[in-house]
Amino acid sequence: MQRVSAEMKVKGGKFVRVRIAHEGGIVFQIHITGDFFVHPEEGLESIERSLVGLRIPSTMEIVERIVNEVLANERITVIGFSSSDLADLVAGALA
């Protein structure tokens, strides 16, 4: 299992760090931490779960689409980073 991480302070937003465990070109686990807000709070685990199984490499566009889908389906509001910020971070960590 390989582990990678990446972090960013979103301009006008919050600090976000991702830690990813992957093997054989597939994401096994992802943890997103930081001082942002997610409403409802359980939504963050949904976002994390949605990215398990992600193929490597994945473009930023793919990651963003997955995140947008789960945000819309589960009516999750995130304050402090956007889906493209997160996609940038995840795709960047896996690049």
Binding site: F15, H31, I32, T33, D35, F37, P40, E41
Partner: protein, 248 residues
């Protein structure tokens, strides 16, 4: 709807967070009125945001050395050092329908109450989106909000007498890029009431009480025995547990 105001009391970190949750449940059940509470932390403690990593944010060795407790909040946002003598915390817990529907607007509204109190104390303060208040360009207050099951909760801190050296020996923030310069610049980013004006803490509490209740029907109250009992249970079930506090 008549509000309940619970004046400043000290509790430990676990009970403080458990009270917010227990009151929220009671408000949801209709057994408690919307509530404003002011409180302190004894012993001093760190609260971390719901989504923060305990290990990343808090120097647990320093906590043990200094006798500082730690707890994970149910709200997002950043790590806060709640010094026993240097900080005032508030919570606003109410049915969601009587608060601003928009999250950012609700931050601005309640931060406006704090700014109103600071204004009377002749501290010029401004709201800095998303959830901060600045005085002299430095952070003096931060807040966090959640909405669960139709109940609104916003809690936040107002720095009364900051000791940046102690604060940043407990919090790891600002230490990620190890350099003395980075640490001192982080310390320069926070301020407190006493740094700006020589006002006794009781006077600050009086002004907060006034500004938070302005335009509301309210009465002084305290925790009900049911809320206390539920809070103690929540301490056992959640806030004292490593599974909760170290969950990220």
């Amino acid at each position: 709807m008549k509000w309940r105001l619970i004046d400043f009391e000290y509790w430990n970190a676990w009970m403080n967070m458990a009270f917010d949750e227990a009151i929220g449940e009671a408000v949801k059940a209709g057994s408690s009125p919307p509530t404003i509470r002011f409180y302190g932390w004894d012993p001093s403690a760190v609260s971390i945001g719901c989504f923060q990593s305990l290990q990343d944010e808090v120097d647990l060795t320093a906590c043990q050395r200094e006798g500082v407790d730690f707890v994970r909040r149910r709200t997002g946002g950043g790590a806060v050092y709640h010094d026993k003598d240097g900080e005032i915390t508030y919570s606003v817990i109410a049915p969601e329908e009587i608060m601003d529907k928009d999250i950012n607007k609700a931050y601005a509204t309640i931060c406006g109450w704090i700014i109103d109190a600071l204004d009377v104390l002749e501290l010029s303060a401004t709201f800095a989106a998303i959830n901060d208040i600045l005085t002299d360009g430095k952070k003096i207050s931060g807040s966090a909000q959640t909405r669960r099951g139709g109940v609104f909760l916003q809690h936040g801190t107002l720095l009364y007498n900051v000791n940046p050296t102690k604060m940043f020996s407990i919090l790891k923030v600002g230490r990620t890029k190890i350099s003395d310069k980075a640490i001192s610049s982080y310390e320069e980013r926070v301020t407190s009431i006493l740094r700006q004006a020589k006002v006794p803490k009781d006077r600050v509490l009086l002004e907060l009480r006034r500004s938070f209740t302005k335009g509301k029907e309210w009465e002084s109250g305290t925790y009900t025995s049911a809320e206390k009992e539920r809070a103690r249970q929540l301490v056992l079930d959640r806030y004292s547990r490593q599974e909760w506090n170290s969950s990220r």
